[in-house]
Subunit: 202 residues, 2 copies
Amino acid sequence: MRRTEHKCGDITEFETISSSADVGYLGLLTTDGYPRVIPVNFATEGETVYFHGAIEGEKYDLLKESPKVTFSMNLVYSYIPSYWTSKKSAGTATMFYKSALIKGRGSIVTDEQEKAFALNLLMKKHQPEGGYQPITADDPLYEHIFKATAIFRIDADQIDIKINFRKKKSREYNLGLIKNLENRGMGRDLATAAEIRKILED
Amino acid sequence: MRRTEHKCGDITEFETISSSADVGYLGLLTTDGYPRVIPVNFATEGETVYFHGAIEGEKYDLLKESPKVTFSMNLVYSYIPSYWTSKKSAGTATMFYKSALIKGRGSIVTDEQEKAFALNLLMKKHQPEGGYQPITADDPLYEHIFKATAIFRIDADQIDIKINFRKKKSREYNLGLIKNLENRGMGRDLATAAEIRKILED
């Protein structure tokens, strides 16, 4: 498997992105030759992506036609307003993110054990606190789900990781950003500041 | 223009989604026949989408090859854990969202006035508080940006809007959700509760 790593990507970063991004964006080919994008909840096991959909729904039909898929996961960290780094120019505004793009082969999972595994994996990601009966293929409670739900998997041929806030900038620029991020403290700002601090310490 | 409206879509919903989603997901065809997905910051004017990229970068090259694009915008509202609505089954877990998918024609903007318009539109969306000199094509401050930055537009042929939390459910189910969402009060939970309340009042 080829793994292209923009800037500074590794499997740890892939796991950070895939475990924290609630929604991923599946790229599929339509029969009229368009690149269809579908947001889905997903979970990963190693470098395999699982998600679900309706049997004979759109994803099911398109994946049967063409296994050529991509899958984008994006973790937005912080918007950096232009005035943090320039008094006049709007051109310094930027968005900090970590993203992964998988290029691979999509398929429909037919094995009942693997379907149960994937459904439990999705639940563990989105509901780590539990509060449900584990999903098994032979539990009458889940019979209708196994009938109505298709599970899809993507096997990655290539993973591109892109981290926007590892661009080479001066120490002063980065220290200024950390101060501003810590003062604002919105959303993932503190995580962004911690990431920049790590880079400075390297 | 055909507009397919799943469940309950209208132009107001499109504006809610496009103005609140920080990142959109561009679907492009690659030369080896894959549906490439690229996360981008974007802004819309009516039903036209603008975003930027590097001149002779990937988006630039792929859009020149094929104008067949889609663009997905997704606004995640609330994760609904299964145990809010079932004591045992994981099958009632769901994610509430509003999403829009545009199918259309992508192109590279060459008119300098339109480029300036789009750049200001992007700034107004992401930095509504201002704090920069408005972007004009003849301002020496922005000369390098006009040289290095490509502006792209998508003209929509079709817009699909999907709102997950307008499914027909009982009044009790919805009142239970509102109570749980208001108690939890995380992220967009209060907005989700307000939306469900509106539906109940209709």
